[in-house]
Amino acid sequence: MKIAVCIKRVPVMDVRFRIAADGKSVDETGLKYDVNDFDLWAVEAALQLKEKTGDGEVVVFSLGPDAVQEQIRKALSMGADRGVQLKADRAPADPLSIAKALAAELKASQWDVVFFGKVAIDSADQSVGPMVAELLGLPCVSAISSLDIANGRGTAKRELESASEIVEFPLPVVLTVDEGLNKERLPNLKGIMAAKKKPLEVKPAQLDAGTVNVVAMELPAERAAGRIIGEGAAAVPELVRLLQTEAKVL
């Protein structure tokens, strides 16, 4: 089984973001980065699939500057076999540009499954996976929350609003992974050591100029400060009243 996983380096979200001087990008000073959560579940899915079938290869791809090697090595620490960096100064805003560059690279080999996360938590486009499927001419199942692959076919579950659907598909396939599919393994010390010796290839990304551009960025409006209505049981009626009339949540 040959499995590709495409992962993205994203800022860790537990900070206050600032907009950079250009007014259309995030100020990166002081940010910490990690692998996009959904992509970690994609890596985990790939590793489980490889372990289940007992042979094959998991290859991790990431497009971006040299810093993405850190995220690739995290995936290698989890157990992926090798990594490929598609080198670019930065990941462009146009998801189609990214998809084309990834597809150009992925086309060079035969894959049984190409995994993506459902969404990158920073840019939230939800489109690179399906676009790559389109460009490769492969079926795509998005936002899967369970997966079973055997005998060249797969079954997956997709969570819908208050229902779920089970879909079947042939291989090769492009899958994008939703929350709940698995919990990713933690790289252990052995894995981290092994990762240092695994191949990590660097190639220039074949990026076009793209047609979608970010022109401005805004921060959400500041939330109003919380209010203490009172203490103890005496405050409950007023609290209920405000929740009904003001906050309109009851």
Binding site: R73, L186, K196, K197, P199
Partner: protein, 600 residues
């Protein structure tokens, strides 16, 4: 197309014995007692390599995720033990092999990485840090440092996976600080194939889990026709018949850590399990502890940060007199003082870990300085955090009281802070004399012999007295650097004066030793701050960009130098005779002070 693999880690000397050649390994802190500043030993600040930084980040991320899911420090404190999942998780992550060399199944972490991780574990749960540290900082470290190839192959892979937990057995009922007074014996069998080990070891961390013990015991030998006893180290399989464990000790803090008495009764230890040579045991114990202490320093620094973080969040949120208590300057004083000292403590353990990794440097006094400073800081800071929290600080529902209890142990184990102060003062005084006559001697215990003081004085008199100065400190810290250099000069002169005045009798003068050690600790911390802050300014690109670091440096160094100056002055001008009279009267009467007027 190009191809890269991760840059290899900078090789670490963390797993090589260091003191084997004290004459050739320079020591920064020994130097300052001679009025010398070995700037080359402390500059540039040893920043972590990129490869180390990346591995560290991965290890910390994994540990933090694991800790968030699995470690409930309050519950562990309450239960007095770890849930199985905690130990299993540590083993699974590979943590037990963190500083065991790669070729024996470990991670081969540098001292910088190892101690940083030690700190993180300590911040998550101090008892778990003791589990981690007793195992590899001291438990199996002797095998790593001094084991033969076969011994390493036999034990280390199991230790690295956690399958074999290690413990370090030095302390006995009659032998705590005075380790050489141990009564345990290991008597060789007639054919020399094994030793019969007898004795009782107390306070043994990890005893209940142990698969292997590093045990120190005396072997009878005949030297020049005289029967003598020589401290020797052994690797003892915990499954050997004749070993019994006591019940877990009921402790004040680090309750989750398993601490017991271990009794050896005619335990047959194969001669192949002897660690090093007969008579090398004490040196082995000290070398293990020399590097092990750094873990306590790193864990104490990180623990300080963690408990103060709780207090900071509370100080922002708790309102009194219509404003957050954090806005009151008496609260801010506690915050700022602990911040500056944490800055110093972090600087010093990192600098020292860099020395451990570099090798060829004697860091025994530096690790002692770091351990003393950081352990006292963490205890004080926990207490300050508790005070900031007020009444809830005293409640078991909040983390403060546990932090006070947990942090207290670090002033006691791996050498009490008193013993380490004496070690710093006496080693430094003894060193020059030892240089002349120690060639033949493998090791001498500084607390038991201070012979060559006379030759030291002679040597010192001949030495050119040049004023020390710094050349590599950033210009923004010129005043601070000058102040430190001036104190080092004063210290050199003061030591000389002390030796001339007291001669060998200085061994008995612990009031003086304490001051010497305190001055040395403050100087070493200040030097670490100079080195680190210089590095921070260069890294940040400008003085302004390193304002937070400079503020800490500019608060810490003058305060430390005031303390050091006072300590050095008190070497000459003091009330020691009167202090001694008071203490001896109290000991005699077993009553602390003259009776209270209310009792007259």
């Amino acid at each position: 197309m190009s191809s890269t693999a991760a840059k290899p880690s900078v090789p670490t000397a963390a797993n090589e014995p260091h003191l084997a050649n004290p004459d050739q390994n320079p020591s920064f802190t020994k130097g300052i007692f001679l009025g010398e500043l070995r700037e080359d030993l402390v500059f540039p600040f040893p920043a972590m390599s990129d490869a180390d930084r990346e591995s560290l980040r991965l290890v910390l991320d994994s540990f933090r995720s694991f800790a968030a899911d699995t470690i409930d420090s309050k519950q562990i404190d309450h239960d007095g033990k770890f849930p199985d999942a905690v130990r299993a998780g540590m083993h699974e992550l590979g943590m037990m092999g963190m500083n065991i060399p790669e070729e024996y199944g470990g991670f081969g972490a540098s001292a910088q990485v190892f101690n940083r991780v030690f700190g993180e574990i300590g911040a998550a749960d101090p008892a778990l840090a003791v589990y981690f540290g007793a195992h590899q900082s001291i438990g199996c470290k002797g095998i790593t440092l001094f084991g033969s190839e076969e011994q390493k192959r036999q034990w280390l892979p199991g230790c690295a996976s956690g399958e074999i937990v290690a413990a370090f057995c030095l302390t006995e009922p009659g032998s705590g600080s005075d380790a050489q007074a141990m009564a345990s014996t290991a008597v060789p069998s007639a054919d020399g194939s094994s030793y019969a080990l007898n004795g009782t070891k107390i306070w043994i961390s990890n005893a209940g889990y142990a698969g292997v013990f590093t045990v120190f015991a005396k072997v009878p030998v005949t030297i020049d026709g005289k029967a003598k006893q020589r401290v020797t180290a052994f690797i003892v399989d915990a499954k050997s018949p004749g070993i019994t464990l006591g019940q877990p000790e009921q402790k004040m803090g680090i309750k989750g850590s398993d601490t017991r008495t271990v009794t050896f009764e005619n335990v047959e230890v194969p001669a192949a399990n002897r660690l090093g040579e007969v008579g090398q045991g004490f040196k082995i114990a000290l070398e293990i502890l020399n590097s092990g202490r750094l873990g306590l320093a790193a864990a104490s620094s990180r623990g300080t940060r963690r408990i103060m973080q709780e207090a900071l969040a509370y100080a922002k949120q708790r309102q009194q007199f219509g404003r957050p208590i954090g806005s009151f300057e008496m609260i801010q004083q506690k915050i700022a003082a602990n911040a500056a000292e944490t800055y110093a403590s972090d600087s010093a353990w990192m600098l020292t870990a860099g020395m451990v990794d570099r090798g060829g440097v004697d860091f025994s006094l530096e690790t002692a300085c770091c351990k003393i400073f950081a352990s006292e800081l963490a205890f004080r800071a926990s207490n300050d955090a508790l005070q900031i929290a007020g009444g809830i600080g005293y409640s078991k529902e909040y983390p403060y009281e546990q932090a006070v209890r947990d942090s207290r142990i670090n002033l006691i184990f791996e050498g009490t802070n008193e013993i380490l102060r004496a070690l710093i003062a006496l080693t430094a005084l003894q060193q020059p004399g030892e240089r002349l006559k120690a060639l033949g001697k493998a090791f001498k215990d500084p607390l038991h012999s201070l012979g060559a003081i006379g030759s030291y004085v002679a040597g010192r008199a001949r030495r050119q007295v040049t004023k020390p100065s710094f050349a590599r400190v950033h210009a923004a810290l010129k005043d601070e650097a000058d102040a430190v250099a001036a104190i080092v000069h004063d210290l050199g002169l003061a030591v000389e004066g002390l030796l001339v005045k007291h001669g060998k009798a200085v061994i008995e003068r612990q009031f003086l030793q304490m001051r010497l050690a305190n001055a040395a600790i403050d100087i070493y911390m200040a030097v670490a701050v100079l080195s680190r802050t210089t590095w921070e300014i260069e890294r940040a690109g400008s003085v302004d960009a390193a304002a937070a670091e400079l503020d800490c440096a500019r608060v810490f160094i003058p305060a430390a130098m005031r303390r050091a100056r006072r300590a050095i002055r008190a070497l000459r001008v003091n009330q020691d005779d009167r202090l001694k009279a008071i203490a001896e009267r109290a000991l005699e009467n077993v009553d602390l002070a003259p009776p209270s007027p209310s009792d007259r």
